[in-house]
Symmetry: C2
Subunit: 373 residues, 2 copies
């Protein structure tokens, strides 16, 4: 009997993290008797007098927000890391009790004055503003002495621990390179240096003409005639449910025509096509279950901007990409729980990435709230 | 300024997984405006005619449960892996699209006929029955040809994706060693072989007289005069909030007097003291926020039982331990979300492990439902 990925349980390998995922395609048929979530509806008002992110409103810190018109950033009132100086460490208490101080900054970026406009409901130009703001903070924080990594991420929806529905993202900048980022970086380095390259001759190449794992993967998906894992693609960008996806409708978004280290290397055209594809991804997400689709999104790129364009610092193997990790599985109210087996052994998924991609690809490009009669 | 772990953000290292956790002790003070959960109350009936785990009731598969009196196991009706034969794989489609077939078995172990009796409300002898059943399944499944790992775990509470409140655990046995297990195993091996051992002369030793990471860690915590991370300890076992805990009230439970590879190496006395400490952990958990405390629990030990006691198969570096990973942070209704930053960069926690341990250690040994007037 030959393995048929749509029928037989199997494992797939994630080359970015060096980890496996267990895929159990037949399991989506089991009845669900467990917890159901409140659906994330589009019933938020355009302005909420109690929201600490709306224009003109007071924040917990006592500050009052300006009457901003497009985008608005500020330093988080409850930051997870604090500014320098770095505390000193007299000695590690025991070799098994390793500890190190961390300093940095936590910023909040509010996408738009409107309390109710998620990325899926913003226009391309408004999303462009968000991209420009990401670039600005990435430079500002990344150039600070001692900062080693700038992490941009969005938690969308209360089910994803987001405590305010007003659309916003966060930027945590730290004096250390975080675990998962370091792991991806190691994999990219290793692939670039490996002689067992599987690079196709027409795939874009990384620095020093070496193969790049993500250039190769993006090229592979972009040139697959059946496009089984492609959700949406444009001139510069491709969005796929990756071969090794953990979350049911996980998406990896990345440039596929050339090696791009960070947001700062994008042309204006590429930023515009990025805005368009972000819009198309988030619209499809919302349309899938006719709700405000929850997810965590994160941007991986060079940890900090390149300070000198001639400098070869080893970080140039980084290839800009976005992870979208949404929890919903069957409907607006039934999510996938990554619990016991996942926490103790290995992530497990119930539908194949190909099934997920084809459902997302089939969703309309027009947001369901606009398509209503 | 010297680093003060109760005040300053810092990172701690997890030597079992080779990963860091970001600790932000000051952050527990921020107001919580996000999602609240339904508290897990003790209002379930002793018998539920609709429950597919209660004695005598029908299951989805059409089978009817026996009228069992103490413990009851069966093969999961919606198993994540299917029994052999292993499907064959003609060829991997592309080196970046790695796939492998998996077979195995998924079992369900119902702890007790009573629909409402969680581990925290069972007596020591009843928990002994559960431990004996774990041993039985571990042997039965672990001896099957082709099975490489037997993973015992419990998801407790609907917030942890458990779809039936009738207390039970699961056993997933697979033809592959899962990612996280393999990682822990590598760390244990590496530590055992390393010459830079930090083993104290009076700590128990692993196989061939070599140091064991978990023997050393357990010994370190057990002999710490201030016992800052100890929740409860008895003659054989110690339960700590580990130095590198991710979840707010995470617990690591392990034997600290000698190197123990698996449940099968325990004496009856040690099984009884294990039953006692499991009871004490779960009672304290319930008492912390006066609710049925949700968690995922997992047992890590040798992947499968030793087939020949003289055999040295390299798996003998495994040291039996239990992980308890509970999501609650502030109360029965406010959990810690491991989302954006955690999924994209690194786990982050809001209270220190020492603060968590001292709160659990201060909880009563008597279950709150029994302590009521
Ligand atoms: O098998 P159950 O209890 O129905 O399912 C639960 O545990 C499994 C193993 O951790 C998870 O994969 C599921 O997402 C969760 O809902
Ligand atoms: O900073 P927020 O949005 O209040 O908090 C949210 O995101 C953080 C970063 O992912 C998490 O650590 C918190 O658990 C979550 O509730």
């Amino acid at each position: 009997m030959e393995l048929s990925p749509d029928i037989h349980p199997h494992r797939r390998f994630n080359p970015l993290l060096g980890e496996y995922v267990l895929v159990s395609p037949h399991r989506a048929n089991r009845p669900w008797l467990g917890q159901v979530e409140d659906p994330q509806k589009y019933d938020t008002p355009a302005y909420d007098p109690k929201c600490y992110l709306c224009p003109g409103n007071p924040r917990t810190s006592g500050h009052r927000n300006p009457d901003y018109a497009s985008i608005f950033s500020f330093s988080n009132d409850f930051a997870a890391v604090l500014p320098p100086p770095l505390p000193t460490l007299a000695s590690v208490p025991h070799p098994l009790l390793q500890i190190e101080p961390v300093v940095g900054a936590c910023d909040v970026v509010v996408f738009h004055p409107r309390h109710d406009l998620t990325l899926a409901r913003l226009g391309d130009v408004e999303i462009m503003n968000v991209i420009e703001e990401w670039c600005k903070i990435y430079i500002e924080r990344g150039y600070l002495p001692g900062i080693q990594h700038v992490q941009i991420f969005e938690n969308k929806g209360s089910i994803m621990g987001c405590s305010n529905p007003h659309p916003h993202c966060q930027v945590w900048s730290t004096s250390a390179i975080p675990t998962l980022v370091a792991k991806e970086f190691d994999s990219l380095k290793h692939y670039s240096l490996s002689d067992k390259s599987v690079s196709s001759p027409d795939a874009p190449k990384g620095p020093r003409g070496r193969p790049c794992l993500l250039c190769d993967y993006a090229h592979l998906e972009a040139s697959d005639p059946s496009a089984t894992r492609v959700v949406v693609k444009n001139n510069d960008w491709i969005a796929v449910v990756p071969w090794w996806a953990i979350w049911p409708f996980e998406i990896l978004l990345l440039p596929y025509r050339r090696h791009v280290q960070s947001l700062l290397n994008l042309s204006t055209t590429e930023k515009l096509s990025l805005a368009r594809i972000i819009s198309q991804i988030t619209i499809r997400y919302d349309n899938l279950f006719s709700c405000s689709f929850p997810y965590s999104m994160g941007i991986h790129q060079r940890s900090t901007p390149q300070k000198d364009s001639k400098e070869e610092d080893g970080h140039d193997v980084a290839h800009l990409h976005f992870h979208f990790e949404p929890p919903l599985l069957r409907s607006a109210t039934v999510k996938k729980f990554l619990v016991g087996y996942e926490l103790m052994a290995e992530p497990q998924r119930d539908i194949t990435p190909e099934q997920a991609a084809s459902r997302l690809a089939a969703c309309s490009n027009v947001h369901f709230t606009n398509a209503m009669p």
